[in-house]
């Protein structure tokens, strides 16, 4: 991996972006991504059986998904919905967790954008870490720290966009 080159440009780019075009209308793609009975049918890598344990589709609502791997290994993914704009945008903050619901990995912010072109849907998945860390710190600190964090967040958001 060319770590040196990545760093020289902007370390804020340590963000995951995946784009995929699905041959289905946007309303259906959004529905299949957000409704529990649909999610259970496809969520997770091949060979994984997923159960949606909690899915409160509203800003501030929690979600928790259990996944059993092909070797019988258990995984949980959970978090909070931040933004829901059907059928075009979905933002959530979350991570991997244990059976008791404690997070076991750093939180990330997951932003999904659904765009329709000629009956097909372009889905862009954007997963970032820095924003989540900053946002979490903002919750813990007082007003001053929150404002500092907001300034940092905006700077980071701008540099990652540019």
């Amino acid at each position: 991996m060319a770590a040196k080159n990545d760093l020289a440009t902007e370390p804020a780019d340590r963000v995951l972006v995946i784009t995929r075009i699905f041959d289905a209308p946007r309303s259906l793609v959004f529905k299949a991504w957000t409704e529990s009975e649909h999610m259970a049918r496809w969520f997770g890598p091949r060979g994984f059986a997923s159960t949606v344990l909690r899915n409160e589709l509203r800003p501030g609502g929690a979600y928790r998904i259990h996944m059993r791997g092909p070797d019988g290994d258990d995984h949980w993914m959970q978090g909070i919905y931040r933004e829901i704009v059907p059928p075009e945008r979905l933002v959530m903050v979350g991570s991997w967790a244990d059976a008791q619901g404690n997070l076991t990995r750093p939180e990330t912010t997951l932003t999904l954008t659904f765009e329709e072109h000629d009956g097909k849907t372009k889905l862009t998945l954007h997963q970032a870490i820095f924003e989540s860390v900053t946002a979490r710190d903002a919750h813990q600190g007082g007003w001053t720290t929150s404002l500092d964090c907001l300034a940092e967040y905006l700077a980071a958001a701008q540099s990652s966009r540019g």
């Binding site: 991996m1 770590a3 040196k4 990545d6 760093l7 020289a8 440009t9 902007e10 370390p11 804020a12 340590r14 963000v15 995951l16 995946i18 995929r20 699905f22 041959d23 289905a24 259906l28 793609v29 299949a32 991504w33 649909h38 049918r41 496809w42 969520f43 997770g44 890598p45 091949r46 076991t104 990995r105 750093p106 990330t108 889905l123 998945l125 997963q127 870490i129 820095f130 860390v133 900053t134 710190d137 940092e152 700077a155 980071a156 540099s159």
Partner: protein
């Protein structure tokens, strides 16, 4: 790789000044005063950022010279990238299944529509 270490890496990276310091160090080791120059920041403020980066294992400080040069330590950054890479595989495979599922879903919807039309006739 421990979750604590990953957390330390990401917390250290969550600051734009610290990311800029790392970007500067990517082109070679340098002194603290040289690092401070582009940031309009006091030396103690820069030192504070360096301490955070050092605790996270993202930089190393030389002991040999009096000016204690800073240099990049790539290990934790590689861990962070590997971690994101695992997420990439997770989503790519989920997307494959999602694609198949959407196809089935549309096929079923179409069949149901045809049935309804058939009954009406």
């Amino acid at each position: 790789m421990s979750p604590d270490r990953l957390n330390a890496t990401f917390a250290a990276l969550a600051d734009p000044t610290r990311r800029a310091i790392l970007a500067r160090l990517a082109s070679g080791e340098t002194s603290v005063s040289e690092l401070a120059e582009p940031f309009e920041m006091s030396l103690p403020a820069v030192s504070k950022h360096l301490k955070v980066l050092q605790r996270a294992g993202l930089i190393a400080r030389g002991r040999e010279a009096q000016w204690r040069p800073c240099r990049l330590a790539a290990g934790p950054l590689k861990d962070a990238s590997d971690w994101l890479e695992r997420y990439r595989r997770f989503w790519e495979e989920s997307f494959d299944r999602f694609e198949d599922y959407l196809r089935d879903l549309q096929k079923r919807e179409l069949q149901q529509k045809e049935k309804k039309h058939g009954r009406k006739k």
